[in-house]
Symmetry: C2
Subunit: 186 residues, 2 copies
DNA sequence: TCCGATATATATTGGATCGATATATGGACG
DNA sequence: CGTCCATATATCGATCCAATATATATCGGA
């Protein structure tokens, strides 16, 4: 989903500044969406020009001035239209799997390190997701589902790696002491 | 991983044209990387200028001229260096989960449709991955692992949705007939 | 015959996004 | 004082994408 609509969505949940929208992407949405300041601020400017959001400036103590954005009825309708038209798609990219794909080109120690880091990453992710589940009592069923979804996937991956790590490294060592298929033909 | 290195990686597996590199991203790498023509061709041009790859032109029958790229020793070393320096990270974006996140704003029928489409998407993905596992007998252990990884995640998600779909829709219907938390405060 | 769809091919463009950077107001720490 | 962190807004150049263009074919339908 593009950042314009992501901002509209966040603002449907309540007024927020650009910084808070980014924070929310890093917290509630972090396991399934992301957006950078480089795209959030121009998006908010554009949404303001289009009359989909408005903003007021707040002065704070010890803090810079804060621009708090609110969604307009027009913006809300726009976002509902987006929800109607959005296809349920997913996009996944993994540098970890690229490393695994080219395991035959790397020393086993290097691979083992990558696997261990990935396992730690997944454990960290699971910890965060479990914490959110436990600590937020105002979650809607839909929000709760997004977290369960993240937990299910990460849990399955962690278990797979735990089960496959040793045999995988053994197989890779074995392959590297043998003929490497296909690649020798280049 | 950036497209320059992705191209180098594919070429480590054997000579290929720009079109074939794209095809490979759509097949062997499809569940964990992607690259568009808009980035592949400029990348290949840049890699050629840098001496990391070379190409020859092949004339074909009933087909346009084909530029087949090969990796140079310098290109191969560059890719090995990339493998050394790459952190095992992942990036996941799901419009499906955005729809779930904002379930409270949508009619249950619309949500059910999205859920069904997503389940079909996952089943299709699983079918493809299983087919690749069965039909390719030259897979290295690393390549096989990437497919098992994809299967594990998708299988877990499918099972979760199957288990949670009905109670989720019920909960959403219930919520929509009650007070909607937090969002009414905007 | 033309059109749309498909496959194999190369190539480019404008818009979207990112990571890095800049600026501002603070506080904590070495 | 400099670095790091947090809260804030804002921008820039590099990268990537979807769409588009062109080329060589084939097939099916109007």
């Amino acid at each position: 989903m593009d950042v314009n609509n992501l901002c509209l969505g966040v603002l449907c949940l309540g007024d927020a500044s650009g910084y808070e929208i980014k924070k929310m992407c890093e917290e509630s949405f972090s396991h399934f969406q992301a957006a950078s300041f480089g795209s959030i601020y121009p998006a908010l400017a554009k949404l303001t020009d289009s009359g989909l959001v408005t903003f007021r400036e707040e002065t704070q103590e010890k803090r810079p001035i804060k621009k708090v954005f609110s969604i307009t009825p027009k913006g809300r309708e726009q976002f509902l239209e987006t929800l109607r038209k959005t296809e349920p798609t997913e996009q996944y990219r993994s540098d970890f799997l690229v490393l695994m794909m080219f395991a035959h080109l790397q020393p086993p120690k290097q691979l083992e390190k990558a696997i261990d880091i990935q396992m730690a990453n997944i454990r960290g992710e699971l910890e965060i997701l479990h914490k959110v589940l436990e600590s937020c009592h105002e979650l809607t069923a839909g929000m709760r589902f997004t977290i369960e979804y993240g937990i299910a996937a990460n849990q399955a991956l962690l278990e797979l790696i735990e089960a496959r790590k040793a045999p995988l490294l053994e197989a890779i060592v074995r392959e590297q002491s043998q003929f490497t298929p296909k690649e020798q033909q280049s």
